[in-house]
Amino acid sequence: MRRRTFFLSLLFIFSPALANEWSVSGFGNLAYSYEDSANLGYLRDLTQKAHPDSNGSFLPDSKLGLQLGYQFDQEWSATAQYVLAERAGDEALDGLELAFLAYQPSASIDIRVGRMGYDVFWFTDTRRVDFGHLWVRPPQEVYGWVPLQNIDGFDLTYRFTQAEIDWSANFQFGATQATTDLQQGFEPNRFFSNRAGVVSLTANGMFWRARASYAQLRVDSQLPNTMEQARENLLLTSQLGLGLVSDEALELYDSLGIQGAVVRYGQLGFEFNDGLWQFVSELVRVDTDREVLPNGVGGYALLGHRFDSITPYIIYSHFSPDTDVTEKQADWSLVPGLPTDIVQLQQGAIDAVNQTIINQSTFSLGVRWDITAQFSLKSQFDWIDIEPMGHGLWATEFGAPREAQQVQLFTLSASFVF
């Protein structure tokens, strides 16, 4: 009797009627990237491990994602997504990109609670879904320095039609975190915010879309322990009453403190796609009062044209910093009575502040070949111009010279969905 009940239960669980409520899908990418720089390591974004000596690797652009959905009824559903990819963070939950409960009380309102993609810029919540995009990767100058992938909180979307245009307004609020690893030899930095919010408005026409958004977060984490110890020493130096040396030490102490900083992101985007021509462009701005966090304006424009299953495209992207390069103001070695390693403290702090400055532009030429409806091959050449001290998107050795540099990056990528 017990066995019969068990088998009946199994039959019930796997009956076709209920099987329709579950959905399993996924996406992936196998890609090889090669760059010709001897002292820089290519990073798809700042959440990846720093390998400055690496020239060619499968790691930065390869990934595999699995998504599981369950539909309770027309109003309630649940979704979870896990992505295996190269990451500086080594916690199991770092790969959990989505895990939310969704409620649709009407056709115009969506409410989600749990972990969702962080909707800062247009494609931040689909940046890993390479099959969905024409490019091999989202432009580094806009998406490379936003390490935050998801938000734990709630998400509200309201859809409406006005003047024959379909609109959607979105609001997100919650906590967000990411692990970054720019310098080899330093421990990865766990960056988090418990107060992150985004509002966005998207307009959809027949062949075009436009989007504007504003995001803001307050940083609740500190830099890694080694950096915090250096800050303590800077604070002590600032309290010694050494004139210019103490003033400079206090400035460096403030520059390296990220806890409590408010970061603001703004975005404007436009997309046109009539099935043959595709144009996408975004202009973004990030603004903070701390020099060690990215500050500046970035943007890109993509133009592609489809010839049956083959779509060649070009992209130009650029990021200009608002932050000036921090220079040495006083010669700390001339102050009598200070420990000898005080000069190293000064130089290390200056290097740490300057290491995150991003100042570069990229011209990309690529082609996408849709071999089947669910599988595509892409190749992309990137010519990257990095300005002096503007290496913030690259894995480097700490304290290495940061001169102007040109880097060529080539990527061959196979992407698919199932």
Partner: protein, 138 residues
């Protein structure tokens, strides 16, 4: 002669040469719809028509390829790429897929909120056509 008849029959029955019929339950309040509104519904940008919630039904790859090429000039790969962004951002659920016209018409008859498309005009009562996309429109 038989071979010629077969070729002509195949050509005439090939979906890319067929008209596309946008169909709903006869009880639906929607009497007509534009090609632009159909595109918005099937690209996940719109969920209502005349304040009424619409549940769209999808078809197999062969019909989808013809349908999207006709309404918005997109290849099936482009449509899949577009939907990959919606699905894997977790924002929009994939529409339910029906394999045959019979299944489509049966589902529409059960639910007046549903909308679908077929390469053939409905042959049963209780289903109405709200838009015919002629093959010669492109």
């Amino acid at each position: 002669m038989k071979i010629l008849s077969l070729i002509i029959t195949l050509l005439l029955s090939w979906p890319s040469l067929a008209d596309i019929y946008i169909v709903v339950n006869e009880q639906s309040q929607i009497e007509q719809i534009s090609q632009e509104q159909i595109a918005a519904l099937y690209l996940g940008r719109k969920r209502t028509m005349e304040s009424q919630k619409i549940i769209i039904l999808e078809r197999g790859d062969q019909e989808r390829a013809v349908f999207f090429n006709r309404i918005i000039n997109m290849s099936l790969s482009q449509v899949n790429a577009y939907w990959a962004k919606l699905r894997f951002s977790g924002r929009v659920r994939m529409p339910e897929q029906v394999a045959t016209d019979d299944e489509l018409f049966a589902r529409l008859k059960r639910n007046p909120a549903m909308l679908g498309y077929s390469m053939h005009p409905p042959t049963i009562a209780g289903i109405k056509v709200i838009l015919t996309i002629k093959d010669d429109e492109k």
